[in-house]
Amino acid sequence: MKMNSASGKQLLQLFQVVAKRPFLQQSFRTATYIVERKYPAPLAKIHKYPSLRRRHQVFNTVQDKNPTPYVRPLMNVLLTEYVENVGQPGECVEIWAKTGRELILKHKAVYPTPENKEKYRDATALNIMNYSSRYVKNTMDILSKLILFITMNKDVPWTLEPWHVRVAFRKAHIIVPDHAITLPKNPIKGPDLTLNGKEFYVTVTINKTEQVIVRSRIVHWTSKVEERLPWVPFPFKKPAPLLFEEDKVIEAQLPAIEPLKMNEDELEDFIAKMKLKSQGKILVKKIL
């Protein structure tokens, strides 16, 4: 096993070295070649061609490949109908040239010529979806699938406030301001281990217009290692009981949670591996 893993690593390193070589990078090239004479040609009389030698055929490549780091070529496009994550009708958008050309082929967009701009000036009336910006649909999709784990203290008493939720969002790589978060009507107080892992709903307003409901659960945590709650495998793949019974109506509207794809045997193996890993971490900490 050790031999295999080592050889795999070596192969990967070798591939990384080889992939940087110019003859492999050529296949990703899209720019046109521009060539220059290494030894410039001699002067001839006006309107005459100079006599050339073999050395005048030696060329240097001036423009060879795409700029590094690779930048996608952009293109302006005028949309004729609503396109997800791109924009609204009548809007002039700068996007990747490849997607822009595809949209034009499907008649979802046109070139932004002055004639077309006059033609689609009143196209904003066709805006059926009425999103406040073009990234709203994408963020709404992400937030509605998210399960937010709010870590709270197990020792010190607290009541849930918007800034607790803000910090939990930040841990999930989503930045939400305080005024955009609305908590449930009933106050949530702790520390209370009966709350642990139960589901309630937090609403987030985007651009002060669109509202999204986010699943959220409270997890208790202490600085003392011995008093911590046991580790649960894949809590975000399992449905949880509701904290408030009023929320049953909202639960039906939300998209279903994706179940775990592992077998029971695979799961056991996975848990054993993770335990070994965690033990190792603790041991290292104790030694240090």
């Binding site: 296949s27 090239r29 899209t30 720019a31 046109t32 070649y33 521009i34 060539v35 220059e36 004479r37 290494k38 040609a41 002067l43 001839a44 061609y49 100079p50 050339l52 030698r53 073999r54 050395r55 005048h56 055929q57 030696v58 060329f59 490549t61 001036v62 293109m75 040239a97 050309r101 034009i104 082929l105 070139y111 010529t113």
Partner: protein, 274 residues
């Protein structure tokens, strides 16, 4: 011919040397085709340089010494293989040359070949999707002209180069002249005809536009054959007779013509009084 010899020849002379046979054929063909061929192959000076950067000024100052010298643009020869005529390369071609990889190493031959895609392009006038081989430069040019049709119609033959593009252009020109495209949507048709009003050329030129030399030769031969073939007289007489029948009115009563012999004959019955 080795790699060295080809590029050492003068750029304009090289093409002419290659085309000596073709030039002889073209001199016999009709005048509209000669006009097209001069636009396509005979105007090297007007071509936009793709693979090298020209200097606009005739005089250049040396930055170190401050010496002023005359400067001459010497174009780099580009090869256009036969496969170019099956796609849209946007004026790109293959460069053949040498590369020096070290100070004390002898130069090694190298070919600079463009990168190709197979993509779909949409033509507004023909209302058709075409799947063709294309370079990135061609796609950028189409975007600059905002559409395939305006790219083909506005660029001259010496920049289009490929026969596929020229044939498409001929089709577009014919459809604009005849106004037989987008019959269901007449508003769009009139708008497009007005848009490409300046790109039009006379019909006689369009009929000989975008043919290769061999194709034009074949077309001219067929034309001569049709003209020189003797036509039997019976066809024309029959045609005249049919036309006379068509023009004749059968409703009118035929006028009676009485010969003078009948008038003189005393034994004939006299005409009945009305």
């Amino acid at each position: 011919m080795s790699a060295g010899v080809r590029s050492l020849l003068p750029y304009n002379r090289l093409r002419r040397l290659k085309n000596t046979h073709n030039v002889w054929i073209v001199s016999v063909l009709p005048v509209p085709y000669q006009k097209f061929y001069r636009e396509w192959m005979g105007s090297e000076d007007k071509e936009t340089p793709v693979h090298w950067k020209p200097v606009d000024s005739e005089w250049v100052r040396n930055p170190e010494t401050g010496e002023v010298k005359r400067f001459q643009n010497v174009p780099i020869p580009v090869l256009y293989p036969d496969q170019m005529h099956e796609g849209l390369w946007g004026g790109e071609g293959v460069i053949e040359g040498l590369v020096k990889k070290g100070k004390y190493r002898c130069p090694v031959p190298r070919f600079w070949v463009p990168n190709f895609y197979k993509t779909v392009v949409y033509s507004e006038i023909l209302d058709k999707y075409l799947s063709i081989v294309v370079t990135e430069r061609a796609l950028e040019l189409i975007d600059q002209h905002s559409g395939l049709d305006s790219y083909l119609l506005n660029t001259p033959a010496y920049d289009l180069k490929s026969l596929l593009a020229l044939k498409l252009k001929r089709k577009l020109l014919f459809s604009i002249l005849d106004k037989d495209f987008l019959v269901n949507n007449l508003e769009k048709q009139t708008n497009l005809v007005e848009k490409y009003k300046d790109c039009l050329i006379p019909r006689d030129d369009v009929e000989w536009y975008g043919y290769s030399v061999q194709e034009a030769q074949l077309k001219y031969r067929m034309l001569l054959k049709e003209q020189s073939q003797p036509v039997a007289l019976k066809h024309e007489i029959r045609r005249k007779y049919y036309q006379s029948l068509i023009n004749k009115d059968f409703d009118e009563p035929p006028t009676e013509s009485v010969s003078w012999v009948k008038k003189m004959n005393p034994f004939t019955k006299p005409a009945q009084a009305p």
